[in-house]
């Protein structure tokens, strides 16, 4: 991460503008135990109350790290019921990083957030249709299968 991803100018700018970056050794207590850290790098997104919402383990290149952080932001806002902010982060993944590993989950969560924000189930059906069309082999396409029945 130190030689490839963090020095990347897009990654640096993204982190500086979107999160509070905190770096601690993997064995720093009590944090390592509190967050059950077993391997490095472990990158966790927590909200301003210290509650975890997303984690990744292992190296991510720049083109995967930015969408992964965006997914962490989206899951944070989603779990805090801040759906417009979650949708904004998810749309950035879907539109700017459609080939990233985070994209299928972003499409799924976009459908869920859209539904919870409007109570209109069409968002779930749209998520299913996009997953089948663009990410049919992903686990998120399988998880969205029930939404095909929505009229």
């Amino acid at each position: 991460m130190d030689t490839v991803s963090y020095p990347d100018s897009k990654v640096t700018d993204f982190i500086l503008n979107n999160v509070i970056p905190l770096r601690v050794p993997f064995d720093a207590e009590p944090l390592a135990s509190d967050f059950n850290v077993k391997w490095t790098p472990t990158i966790i997104t927590v909200d301003w109350n210290g509650i975890e919402h997303h984690r990744t383990v292992g190296f991510l290149p720049p083109e995967e790290l930015i969408p992964s952080i965006l997914l962490g932001l989206a899951k944070t806002y989603y779990e805090l019921d801040q759906f417009p902010a979650a949708l904004q982060a998810l749309e950035k993944i879907i539109n700017e990083y459609p080939k990233s590993g985070s994209a299928p989950e972003a499409v799924f969560l976009h459908g869920v957030c859209g539904y919870k924000n409007t109570h209109d189930p069409k968002h779930l059906k749209q998520a299913y249709e996009k997953l089948i069309a663009e990410y049919k082999d992903s686990e998120w396409a399988k998880r969205a299968l029930p939404y095909r029945l929505i009229q």
Partner: protein
């Protein structure tokens, strides 16, 4: 020379900043070697 990431190293300070800015914290548990 471009920007570099200015990492916080203290949990309480990072969380305090996060609360002030209502911004999530990205915590990188790394191996210092």
């Amino acid at each position: 020379m471009g920007n570099t990431i200015k990492w916080e190293t203290d949990w309480k300070i990072a969380l305090s900043k996060a609360q002030d800015e209502k911004t999530p914290v990205l915590v990188d548990f790394f191996n210092p070697g």
